[in-house]
Amino acid sequence: MHTRARDSEFTLLFQMIAYSVIVILSIICLLPFLLILSGSFSSNESIVRDGYHLFPTDFSLEGYKMVFKFPTQVLKAYGVTVFTTVVGTALGLFLITMAGFVLQRKDFKYRNTFSFFIYFTTLFGGGLVPWYIMLANYFNLTDTYTVLIFPGLMTPFLIILMKNFIRSAVPEELIESAKIDGANDFRMYCSIVLKLAMPGIATVGLFLALGYWNDWFTSSLFINDPDMYQLQFYLYNTMNTITFIDQMAIGTGITLSQDVPTESTKMAMAIVVTGPILFLYPFVQRYFVKGLTIGAVKG
């Protein structure tokens, strides 16, 4: 009796500490975002004059007005990013689940050889220049949508994650009995693996989607046509142009006939860019935790 009271006391104490730590941490994580949000709703003068505030002192929508004043470029960049994210994630999930399913099957004779090829690239890569030459000169992928999707399709880490997840989520016996019942490999893949591996698929899918959504590097290297810029790159490039004007134009004497976006416009752009992917989290989150731990621990 006595001990039980002590126990519940400890539980209460633990919960109090746990909750307060979590609350503080969440606030710390939220603050920068809140600053950006409030900055995007402030007038540019107030940012220049007083700096950023948690709540806009001088409310204004001019930042957003600037972003959407000539929406074609922003919308085009949005379109490209949405397209690459959707297609890349779908295609990537298909390939990664397939690879994971095959690699964990005990009756696949060469699975160690293939696994080795995949793991090997995580340890030794060719580097940037060969990678560029491969994609640009041999595959001729400069200025194509393929180049935005193709390089990110099969990430070794995600394949390993998926393989381990399928191994733990789909018992060997289940495959065995399905085989006895007359199911072929595709049947097993579609009806059993895809269904049971849902948490893993959601996790890997989120990783892929985030990767595609946040990608700017491939645009920076392979895309010359401004209509094909990804959203992140479009934003990043606009920001960089300002830095460039500051640093390079000094000795070079070159003149750039571009309008420099104001502080509030920058913030509004940041919100516009991060917005949609934020909404993805709540929907995938419940799978997320489960998928990651099972995949990792039982590996």
């Binding site: 030459i133 000169n137 001729n140 194509t144 401004p226 300002i242 000094i250 004497g253 006939s257």
Partner: protein
Amino acid sequence: MRMRNKTIRHLSLVFALMLFAGILAACNNGSGGSAQGSEQGSSSGNKGEKVTLQFYMLGDAPKDLPVIESEINKLAEADLNVNVKFNYTSWTDWDQKYKLLLSSGQPIDLIFTADWTFYQSYAKKGAFLPLDEILPKAAPALKSHVPEDMWNAVKINDKIYTVPSTWIEYVTEGIAYREDLREKYNLPKPESVETLEAYLEGIKANEPSMTPIADSNANHTHGIRQLTSKLVNTAGQLPYGLDIMYDTPSSITSYWGSAQHLEDLKTYKRWMDKGFFPKNVLNVKDTSNSLLQNGKSAVVLSGENPNKFNADVIKVQSTHPDWKLGYFPYPNAKGFAQPVHPIHNGFAIPRSSKNPEKALAFYEKLVTDKRYNWLTEYGVEGKNFEVQDGYYKMVGDAQTNGFPREGMNGWAWRNPDFMLYDKTFDDVLTMFEELDKIKKPDIFTGFAEDWTPYQAEKAALEQVEKQYLYPLNVGLVEDVEAGLNTFMEKAKQAGLEKIQTEYTKQWQEYLKSAGIQ
């Protein structure tokens, strides 16, 4: 049964591979058609040898580029039977992209070059095609358009690798300051270190909310160097702390660690104590110009060339009509001005080019044919610009106009005979005329430094500089003399002496080969 199973497995593997390949191919054809299709179309075209030139520029493309490109292609197809594809690297990571473009062997026919894109070292490494023999054959008009001494000036190892721009401009810097405040408080004109200090003191005393010097990254040091010494280069920042004076280029001393260096650093420390810099100067993110334009600061010491100063004046006129800006060009303090070196703006033909003759012939048109030149510099007449009393006039404003003046970043093919200026540019041209009177040739930019012998030391030294010299430059170190000693000690450990010796050797070889005393 087992046999059948095996065949099915094999078949399905093949099927899966085919599916994957098919998806890739479909994507490729669907979107990449434009780039590949034109090439294929051209090789099997009616005239048999129409080619598409790949043209690479730095920066961002203007909105109306497709219109200009098709107009240019109409002309070029009729004249030379070529098509041109204008490609733009963005300002994001342009240097990395530039490196990849030149090292990957991608077919490129024309690429922008400048000293700040490392023309000299790329040319030395053989990234570009020597033009000496092709020029008279493929582009005789261009050959005679560019003066002989300019051709000589761009030579690397006695070969021409770039076509220089013939428009002469000055990117020399100067002090930009608030003239209205100077008049209001009766301060001296900031034209020497002493008067500058007096001016800054006056600003600090009368306008306590201002931080007198607009500064980021300790840029003021370059300004002060230009105000007080007659260095060979225009930017006041010779590498590795060396001192090479214009009048005696062959005698080289070390500025770092010298008595002059110590004195300058003491000045910066005094300025910091007097509050001329913000305390967090090394983290300032605003540009110097925006600080001046917003009235947060009164003086810009670095980066203000005539062009940029003019832009500041125009900006301030529209936002604060009651303000006045003053300008003191550093060449006035030095006694001579160096116009930009011909290397500064040019176009080269990379070794990977498949049609060097055609590329050069097209570039000749771009420079010497007014139709090509105006289209690519100013856009379509009537749609993008108008000519009013001999001045350039933009149609609409920067937001609505899809091709502002020099929107294609065509600094390299400016032709003085065809150039149109905005009315506001008159002040810059007047400044150029003034500077023309004290003109002396640039003897520094033709030098191509080869840092391969001391690459590791160079990287180490850069770290030391950031860690020990920057705080000294902005007066954040209490004991300046001890701080300078520490910096020199660390720099020597990083290999400063080896770098300076090797650099000196290369510089003297260059002086000999260029015939400079």
